[in-house]
């Protein structure tokens, strides 16, 4: 299960992607609209900014915005920044490989052999999904929801 931190961060990114053309967004507005504790959101956004995913401006007229277009930010990148490596075991991580201290031989480790496949599939989906893709998915889901209602009427 992903942490609340990650979930809040992803919600914030989707929110900012939706308003990408509108200039800087206030933390306070974001926190209110998505019901995220404001102070907690502050340090999440700061993390994302330090990683280059977001940019910010202080003072009047300031706020947060995406650091690059929504098509250039993937779920995979965001999750790695907040949650750590995607891989279920360190020995199959491509971005943050580490040896498994518990396992003798890496080549013949049964856990590794299975988890490699899991990691690869997760990476394929998450690195292949940008914020722009998610906006499209959401719009599609909304339309389908509306049609269902229309159909009922």
């Amino acid at each position: 299960m992903i942490s609340k931190k990650t979930k809040y961060g992803l919600k914030a990114l989707i929110y900012l992607a939706r308003r990408y053309e509108q200039g800087p967004i206030l933390i306070a507005d974001l926190a209110r609209d998505e019901s995220i504790p404001k102070k907690f959101l502050e340090n999440i956004l700061l993390n994302l900014k330090n990683a280059g995913v977001l940019q910010s401006r202080k003072g009047r007229g300031g706020g947060y915005a995406l650091g690059r277009p929504p098509e250039k930010i993937t779920f995979g990148q965001a999750i790695r920044l907040m949650e750590g490596p995607l891989a279920p075991v360190p020995c199959v991580s491509e971005m943050a490989y580490a040896r498994c201290t518990e396992c003798g031989s890496e080549l013949t480790c049964g856990i590794r052999l299975v988890m490699k496949d899991v990691r690869d599939e997760m990476a394929r989906i998450l690195d292949g999904t940008t914020l722009a893709d998610v906006l499209v998915k959401i719009d599609g889901a909304e339309d389908r929801g509306r049609n269902l209602i229309d159909f009922c009427i």
Copy 2:
């Protein structure tokens, strides 16, 4: 990342699967061979036994064994018992669905739309892999390792 508990548990299951025909295995042997803290391993195995995956016998000649054949125990089952639901968010879990308290509408949640795909792929792989499958994979990997050495010579 999976917890050590889960990793130890999976190692134990693979170990017991390999020795499925040999009758009960002592915790002490298992702990020594896989270098798992014995006391910790005890309550991991107990969990698995209470879930029906393992069986045990007390006294001399006792020990632990699989509760059913290796072809009937999947990685997915084992991981769910030790690590909890596979799903990254509770709202896409099939075995342990729960509403996401943080999200307003479930139907149009961008996180959910993406994580649904992730969960389904993970479930496909992990529920589709039995202990017997893993043993075969390990043997295959060992053979490939040997061939590589032969080739070098």
